[in-house]
Amino acid sequence: MSEAIGNIWRRPLRTALTIGGIVIGVFALTVMGALAEKLNVLVDGGDEYFRTRIFVFDAGAASGFQASSRPITRDIVERIDALPGVDRATPVLQTLLDPEQVGGFDIPELLTGIEPETWYHPSVDLRVDAGRLLEPGERGVTVIGADLAERYGLRVGDTFTMRERPFEVIGVLERTLTFPDKIAYVPLRDAQEIYVQSVPEAFEERTDELATQIEVFPDDLADADAIAAAITDEIDRVRAVTPDEVGEQIGQATIVFNLIIVGASVIAVIVGGLSVVNTMVMSVTERVREIGIKKAVGAPTGAILREFLAEATLLGAIGGVIGIGAGAALVLVLNAQTAGSGTTVFLLTPVLLLRSFLFATILGALAGIYPALRAARLDPVAALRSAG
């Protein structure tokens, strides 16, 4: 090993350039990976949060299950409730906390009106960090997610003005790393009034019948598909989204980012891998005589192979460590800059760091195979008598 260190140090500039190639790749991989990790946590958490129920929308509502453009009347709640296999159905009115703020990269902040008597436990697993959850019959109170509390500097007892209405914060939720962190839960009645205020002309229905969706909790999640089918059969002009479909929709978001990771990996492989191959081939060429000497004194083929593989692996590992360090530093700086707004875009996980390091090391080793084989297969006599 010490010889491998000595050997890569023989040509410091070339070694530095080679390592630089790996650093760039691993740097990209770490930063992109941290982006994807964050998104994956959002998505996995979102999956867990949403997958407990069937969402019923107005058939004309925009796709997706947040803040649909058309409301759904609540008179169908009782009809769905009566269907076999349905534990309970509850109206939910979900809208953007601030209509001006359209979600960018992160999930948007949401205002969610619920009926506490039918919506909460055990199916929706929300826990408070401070204060308590909503209770039936309350008005003008809110339970907010951890990101909202942080961003607006809110604690239990504070007043939080949403859509020009004051709400008393009665609870702050535990951090979930996903949707509920950015949701302010309010009594359904309050949400309905806010909703009507913003688009008063849109409905003929009575305000207290408004909802953007009906959330249906089945007795057994396994029956969700059948229940969803029954709902669309039984009730006109609705669309029922099953937990599996919700999962699919959420999952699609990760595909793009996982493709970016794959892209970054491919670039890392090309840039880093080729530079290692090039350097090691040159290194073998320069050290033909030395390989001949080692073979003459009895080094078996495998020993020569291992020596050069060790060097290539070392190049990969050093590049990996530096690339991870640089990537992690950038991620930490960027996260620190956006932390004030309650949003962090990157998430560094030990798994990600380990994966990046292993990627660089294995890349170095793989790139070393061909040069090492060339070295190991040299004819001892030809190698010994070569110039240099």
């Binding site: 080692k294 073979k295 003459a296 009895g298 080094a299 078996p300 083929t301």
Partner: protein, 232 residues
């Protein structure tokens, strides 16, 4: 005395296009343990090829070769490496030390590839002392003179306690004074420690210091003469 090296009808044929070059052409040779032997011949006479064959660096095209009672014919690459590692020591004209390793690390090189020997470092130090370089153990080749480098190479050739030491023009790169010192060292090792040494040379002055001179021409032995050594 039993022969430590037995060659029977040993040949090495190179094909270049349609023509054949018989670099070594049916050489038979017995080398006894403890012999100090010179192989002489003009450039192109096949002496270096013969040395490469005896040292298991090359595979013969035909013939028989036994080293220390072990047949080399049909051995795999790995087995040939093991024979070189355990039974043969090499000294080259250009010293051929590894530039990044210190003197003592160079001496230890052959042991690196064999089974771990607890006494390896002690033995390497002792050999460096024997060639007069105990205080240069941690110097790299670039910090040593030519003569010193060749003495490191001698220590390296002896570290595995070989059956035979093969030296290819060992004084070729040295001035005459250093040359004499080096030959004195080799003859001393032969006389005092019974090391079997085969020296390839074109220098009659070197050959004169050995007990036996084998002359080659066109890949064949044309003379094999033993010099009567004075009995002490």
């Amino acid at each position: 005395m039993m022969p430590i090296l037995v060659a029977r009808d040993l040949s090495k044929v190179y094909r270049r296009g349609s023509s054949e070059v018989r670099a070594v052409d049916g050489i038979s040779l017995d080398v006894e343990a403890g012999e100090l032997m010179a192989i002489m011949g003009r450039s192109g006479s096949g002496k270096t090829t013969l040395l490469d064959l005896l040292g298991c660096l090359l595979r013969p095209t035909s013939g028989e070769l036994e080293i220390d009672g072990r047949s080399v014919i049909g051995a795999s690459d790995g087995e040939l490496a093991a024979i070189r590692r355990e039974r043969v020591g090499f000294i080259f004209q250009e010293f051929n030390l590894i530039p990044t390793l210190t003197a003592i690390e160079n001496v230890l090189l052959p042991l690196r590839y064999g089974p771990r020997r607890p006494d390896g470092l002690g033995r390497a130090s002792e050999l460096l002392g024997l060639v007069g370089l105990a205080e240069r153990a941690s110097h790299r080749p670039s910090e040593l003179s030519g003569g010193e480098q060749q003495r490191v190479a001698i220590a390296r050739a002896l570290v595995n306690e070989p059956a035979v030491v093969l030296a290819d023009e060992p004084t070729g790169e040295l001035d005459s004074t250093t040359s004499e010192e080096l030959m004195a060292m080799l003859t001393g090792l032969n006389r005092d420690r019974g090391v079997t040494i085969i020296i390839v040379t074109h220098d009659p002055g070197i050959a004169d210091q050995t007990d036996r001179v084998v002359r080659l021409s066109d890949g064949r032995v044309i003379a094999d003469s033993r010099v009567a050594q004075p009995v002490v």
